[in-house]
């Protein structure tokens, strides 16, 4: 037995150790790899070639980038994390991690690190592609954009943890992710601005979890438009509320072990 007390392990090295392992696993998971690498680029391509985009137009640029960022968050963060959390849970990996020194939050975050890192890299790459090749107008309010992005990552990550609680196997994850994805694609203003939806629908959609994030991202890119700063603050506030709610839901519902 050593005479000296060993140095207590610290959070960041623990997180990185787990994150590194998860990155290796992502690399060996063909489906997740394909989704993470291909989808965002496909989204950008589809949006750019749809009739709606015109170069050098601030509003159109914002729509294009919001849609791309939204797709990236939905498919690289949300979808892959639901499958990852379910897979780790069913494989008893989460349970094993929980008897170690990692805190619960560190386990969830560490598992999500590769997805989050890839998301950031993808968005940077695609923004670069947009700026250089598609004559996308540069973002007017990078701080707002960043806020939207961070809140978007928190919400999609936490909702992935929630969804995993209601998913029994990795296979059924393909089904359980659909509601949130369809809802967000249809109603969050990713492809069609909310202003162009009929009024009652638009009002409801404004309260969906993903909509405030998309609005924040769009405002960050195009600059605060008609509503001005006040509207932007309101959207950020709603995003923050959704972030808190989704994290609360994750803590409440997340299952660490398969059902007996």
């Amino acid at each position: 037995m050593s005479m000296l007390s060993p140095v207590r392990s610290a959070a960041v090295p623990r997180l990185l150790a787990l994150g590194r392992a998860e990155m290796l696993l992502l690399g060996r998971n063909r489906t997740a790899l394909l989704t993470s690498v291909a989808f965002p680029a496909i989204a950008l391509a589809m949006l750019a070639t749809s009739g709606m985009f015109s170069p050098d137009d601030a509003a159109a640029s914002a729509q294009l980038m919001a849609g791309t960022i939204g797709m990236t968050l939905l498919f690289v963060v949300y979808t892959t994390l639901v499958a990852a959390y379910v897979g780790r849970r069913e494989g008893l990996v989460l349970k094993r991690l929980r008897v170690g020194e990692l805190h619960d939050g560190e386990i969830l975050l560490g598992t999500a690190l590769p997805a989050l890192a890839i998301t950031v890299v993808q968005i940077l790459i695609l923004a670069g592609v947009g700026l250089v090749f598609l004559d996308v107008v540069p973002p007017k309010n990078p701080v707002l954009l960043l806020a939207g992005l961070v809140l978007g990552m928190v919400i999609t990550g936490a909702l992935a943890a929630c969804s995993s609680a209601f998913t029994s196997t990795v296979e059924t994850a393909q089904v359980t992710v659909l509601p949130f994805i369809l809802l967000s694609v249809g109603g969050a203003g990713m492809f069609v601005p909310l202003s162009e939806l009929p009024d009652p629908v638009a009002e409801i959609c404004a309260f969906l979890p993903f909509t405030p994030v998309m609005e924040t991202v769009r405002s960050g890119w195009a600059g605060t438009g008609e509503g001005g700063t006040q509207e932007a603050v309101r959207q950020v506030g709603m995003s923050a509320v959704w972030a808190v709610v989704s994290v609360w839901g994750a803590r409440r519902w997340f299952r660490w072990e398969p059902r007996r």
């Binding site: 037995m1 050593s2 060993p6 140095v7 990996v93």
Partner: protein, 324 residues
């Protein structure tokens, strides 16, 4: 009470204490299942303690509480003087845990798994060193999903030992191992104990409990129905005589004080604290009656007998008890 402890901070003589521990799994339909029903135990520092029981007896449910994976529904638990669930940050760096099964992603290699865990463990030994110790030095680049059952179990154990734990929890450590692997593991665990590690293991293998444990407790249906050193446990429990009669159950004569007989069809099982007189009485009676005792089998008390007897006593059989 013993005086000093080996660890820092004077946690007392006990490495693990449990009192009145209960664990209920709640199910959605409103009926909870109580897996652990008021268990108490004490494990001293440097001791090897075994929880012996059949599958489903509640050993894993209990040991998970001791490891701090969940909070007990009732009762208190202390590991090295602290609550293993509420004070995880204090306790975890000092314990090592081997779960009943798995918990390592199949697509990582042995080396990658060990390196990941070393990065997340206080005072970790070099991963290569621990893997060598468990005989996995030649399998470093093999993916976990391709390991044999015994190799996977050895990896589990290697990871549990990474942090040089003071207390080691082993849930069914030799499941899936061949006899040689089992003996190697026993040797390793004994060596760890000699170096001062406290070990609490669960097993359904009698030989394992007998070979390793300083003290043990037999767990059945969520309760500790016997505990103490193997000798103490055996001393408290009866020997057994078994035979079959072609004519089926008959009234047996008085076979001695504290004797119980139970019939299952034509098979009779007699439990007695005094084997020799009871056997003599039985044989005399059989001789007188000209009865043939088919498959006559008499066994002095052993851990196996205690284990089987205690497990039997709560099952439903056609019973004809002859008490005295």
């Amino acid at each position: 009470m013993e005086t000093t402890s080996k660890g820092p901070g004077g946690d007392g003589p006990w490495a693990i204490t449990a009192d009145g521990v209960r664990r209920t799994y709640s199910s959605g339909e409103g009926g909870g299942f109580e897996a652990v029903r008021g268990v108490g135990l004490r494990v001293g520092r440097g001791e090897m303690f075994a929880l012996l029981g059949t599958n489903g007896a509640g050993k894993t449910s209990l040991v998970e509480l001791l490891e701090g994976l969940a909070r007990p529904s009732a009762g208190t638990i202390k590991v090295l003087g602290h609550d293993p669930y509420a004070e995880r940050t204090v306790v975890r760096p000092r314990i090592g845990v081997l779960l009943q099964s798995g918990g390592f992603p199949g697509d990582l290699t042995v080396a990658e798994t060990a390196r990941t865990w070393a990065g997340a463990t206080t005072g970790a030994r070099p991963p290569g060193e621990v893997l060598e110790l468990l005989g996995l030095g030649g399998r470093l680049d093999v993916r976990v999903k391709q390991l044999s059952g015994g190799e996977a179990r050895r990896l589990d154990l290697a990871i549990a030992l990474l942090g040089r734990p003071e207390v080691l929890f082993l849930d069914e450590p030799t499941t899936g191992m061949d006899p040689e692997g089992r003996r190697d593991t026993w040797r390793l665990v004994k060596q760890l104990q000699e170096e001062g590690t406290t070990v609490l293991l669960t097993t359904h293998y009698l030989e394992e409990a007998e070979a390793l444990a300083d003290r043990l407790a037999i767990i059945h249906e969520g309760r500790a129905i016997a505990s103490g050193t193997p000798a103490e446990v055996i001393a408290d429990h009866p020997s057994r005589i078994r035979f079959s009669l072609a004519d089926g159950p008959v009234d047996l004569p008085h076979l001695g004080a504290g004797t119980r007989a139970k019939w299952t069809g034509r098979l009779c099982t007699v439990r007695t604290a005094h084997l020799q007189p009871a056997l003599y009485a039985l044989l005399s009676w059989a001789e007188e009656r000209g009865a043939e005792l088919e498959g006559l089998d008499a066994r002095a008390a052993s851990l196996e007998e205690v284990f089987l007897g205690l497990s039997e006593s709560t099952t439903d059989d056609v019973a004809m008890e002859v008490a005295s």
